[in-house]
Symmetry: C2
Subunit: 195 residues, 2 copies
């Protein structure tokens, strides 16, 4: 990677860390410059303004990072009940750069920024859509294999699971990671009921 590309990536990854912990609006450009040791000239050479950096961060850091944890594990799913639950367990308890007290970076940004920035909203919706789609396909696969009842609405299940994740991430911010295990238990009960 060239030196220029390096500073660009560095700005994005450090900005991600700060924004993940503090929120987008609470993270000032000066704050980013102080922690990256990058000068203002360099920052505005690589990004037209703060929002353009934020959008790049969503597309280049958050999207691929979350996609790998949320969508990829479902792509060759064999048993939706186990696979969806296991995907959720890993995301909540195992992914190292996610911390209960800071929630989920994608969920946080939807909450904070979707009323304020249409571009952010659409970029984050893309992730949600693809995750829901992967869950839906997994459930439909389960209907074919017979693990899932034929009358189950795969799209509804996907919506419910995504909403549940988003919600438990929010709860975890105020109550800590203890609620994650509770959620996983009840998610299992919900999923079992689909069979």
């Amino acid at each position: 990677m060239s030196k220029a590309a390096n500073t660009r990536t560095m700005i994005l990854t450090k900005s991600f860390e700060l924004i993940y912990k503090q929120g987008y609006q609470a993270t000032s450009i000066d704050n980013i410059l102080a922690t990256t040791q990058v000068t203002k000239g360099a920052f505005f050479y690589h990004f037209k303004n703060k929002d353009e950096m934020g959008l790049a961060m969503i597309n280049e850091i958050i999207f691929p990072g979350m996609y790998a944890s949320l969508v990829t594990p479902l792509l060759n799913a064999k048993s939706p009940i186990n696979d969806i639950h296991e995907m959720m367990r890993v995301v909540l308890l195992k992914v190292p750069f996610l911390r209960a007290k800071y929630g989920c970076p994608a969920v946080n940004l939807i909450e904070e920024m979707s009323p304020l920035n249409e571009d952010f909203k659409h970029a984050l919706l893309k992730l949600t859509d693809q995750w829901q789609d992967a869950i839906k396909k997994s459930v439909n696969q389960g209907k074919i294999s017979g693990e899932i009842r034929a009358d189950v609405n795969a799209e509804y299940v996907a919506c419910f699971v995504v909403a549940g994740y988003s919600g438990i991430r929010n709860m975890g911010k105020a109550m800590g990671s203890a609620c994650y295990n509770i959620y996983l238990q009840e998610l299992k009960n919900y999923l079992k009921q689909l069979g």
Copy 2:
């Protein structure tokens, strides 16, 4: 109500509306003053600073408003499966001052402010705690009446329901209220499985 108490209440209710729509940090004191027609002197006479106003808004506007919709309907619950579902239906589809695109004011504030302000976090946790407690009591009541299986963990159910609400409110911000009906359908499936 005295004139002074009137301006105080007016500041809180208008601040609530602005903060509900824009978020806490995106709502400046000047923004509040402009929409209330209250002067800066009046504002800082009633509140030591912005955060003290925010805390008063949580305790005096958000808490009682949400309590009436979330907790009160469950206090004399007869059938948890129906009552919890109906409570959720009313909250999502009927409460007039809540709009899908703005989410839930309590959920929004937990998301935005719980990492930044301990007082906000605790004030909002109080609401969550009491809501979970009401759900738990309702489920335990159902276990006595026989509507709910004896092996169901009421606390887990409460956690799962609260997380689901929080999550679907977040989804609704980006996707609109269509997902509310889907969520309600799947919530019903989850609740039925408890019996």
